[in-house]
Symmetry: C2
Subunit: 251 residues, 2 copies
DNA sequence: GGCAAAGTTTCCGCTGAGTGGGAGGATCGG
DNA sequence: CCGATCCTCCCACTCAGCGGAAACTTTGCC
């Protein structure tokens, strides 16, 4: 994990975040050894610091494994991560869910990835890999394609230069993706067919801030099949996106 | 704010959390001076540490105010705060919302307070003060009364000893509250009428883990008026709570 | 404009908090 | 029983962090 933080010169604060940053969606619990390893800290240091963090609520111990502490959850909920957007969007997401019973996503672009801001998923839905706070590639998801179509040129170039394959259907040819992004502009929505996850298709539309039309986010649906009813889904998305955009204040 | 952390002996990690802990729902942005004050740190120290945290993503600067950083949001979402419960409950919360269009709450008891784990609120709803990750008194909310009715004796005693008044209708007499808690047991649900927030009423039921019947959480609805349709709301809540309880694994 | 007050940033020398190698335990499996 | 693996603790050295104080910026008032 990143440069060796055990070298003198690294602040304690950075070590705190190194420890916390050792956790991710695939590693929600870690043994001390794994924690030290992933944080790039000597065992003794990790042990002492981890103990301290447990006392502060930044970590929790469950048996001999560590997990991120409740205190961090508390604090994180205070972070203004698109707070207004999420607030405004919430009822529209419910409406979409009620109308479609598909998994509903609200996402923004974070660099060259999609960042999922909110998600509603029902009982009977295709398994979806997204997660609020999670990031996925821009070229493999519906919301990602929408955001990519409206991203600055340098982002597009970076993404096109490295189209990783996720499923057999993932689009890895820059030319094909470029063509699809043009269609996103022309038709106003993006779609994917099993490009991120087998058995999952998606459609997505941009959310434009009412005042200036800037694309601030994307709204998407994940369904098992798009061959029937796509038009209805897109229409529902567009209604919701327009409603959200209208309700957003000018920054 | 707590003991003076500027005295030597306090670890850097504790100062980091002191700074982050200076933020709360009412203070989501702070000037440097306010931050230092609320964290109990000397100005120079707060300034340096805050700068460091900005570099690490733990804080963000907006103009000359600080807010909690995205990194903390990211990390917090990895904290296993009733992860299974929230996951299992999500679709039931949607159902409840679809059926009632009321604000839906999922909450657990954290010491002598209610901790809101999830919340769905629609467009047209009474203004509600709850917030995911937020805490409220046990005796002024529907979910709180449910949780209090099933809390250990020492918690009950502590709460009864200090029934703070929030609105003119808040129950502040231990006797009356005791009587209501008995009714919660007898009738299987709790209610409030403008006891937390003027114009807001609520009903709530316990969520019992299927395996052992232990009350692990409470499920509640907030509506403008309970005089009509209360029975329907309670019935809907009970169906949902039973469904959630059945889906919970034995810990 | 001039001045005071409040808030923010920088400087710098002293010092004890933090560090981490290593020893010592605990636990497991063969 | 022994070795492997992981966790905990110790302690002497040292440099990262500390914070008082001074400089600087912004704001608001006369």
């Amino acid at each position: 994990m990143a440069g060796n933080l055990s070298t003198p010169g690294a602040s304690v604060a950075s070590r705190v975040f190194a420890l916390l940053g050792a956790f991710d969606a695939e590693h929600r619990t870690l043994s001390l050894t794994a924690l030290a390893e992933r944080a790039g800290l000597p065992l003794a240091t990790a042990h002492r610091l981890a103990g301290e963090l447990v006392g502060l609520g930044g970590l929790e111990r469950r048996g001999d494994r560590y997990v991120v502490g409740r205190r961090v959850w508390d604090l994180g909920l205070l972070a203004p991560v698109q707070a207004e957007l999420r607030q405004v969007a919430a009822p529209f997401l419910h409406d979409l869910y009620a109308a479609t019973h598909a998994t509903v996503h609200l996402a923004e672009r974070a660099g060259t990835e999609v960042l999922y801001l909110d998600r509603l998923s029902g009982r009977t839905t295709v398994p979806v890999v997204s997660r609020v706070g999670g990031r996925l590639p821009l070229h493999t998801t519906g919301v990602g394609k929408v955001l990519l179509a409206h991203a600055p040129d340098d982002v597009l170039r970076t993404v096109l230069a490295d189209l990783s394959r996720v499923t057999p259907y993932t689009i890895t040819q820059p030319g094909r993706l470029r063509e699809q992004l043009r269609r996103v502009h022309r038709e106003g929505f993006a779609q994917t067919v099993e490009e991120m996850s087998p058995g999952a298709c998606s459609v997505a539309v941009p959310v434009r801030r009412g005042a200036d039309g800037e694309v601030v986010a994307a709204l998407g649906l994940v369904v098992p099949d798009l061959r029937r009813g796509r038009a209805r889904l897109v229409a529902a998305l567009q209604v919701a996106a327009a409603g959200i955009g209208r309700s957003l204040s000018t920054e």
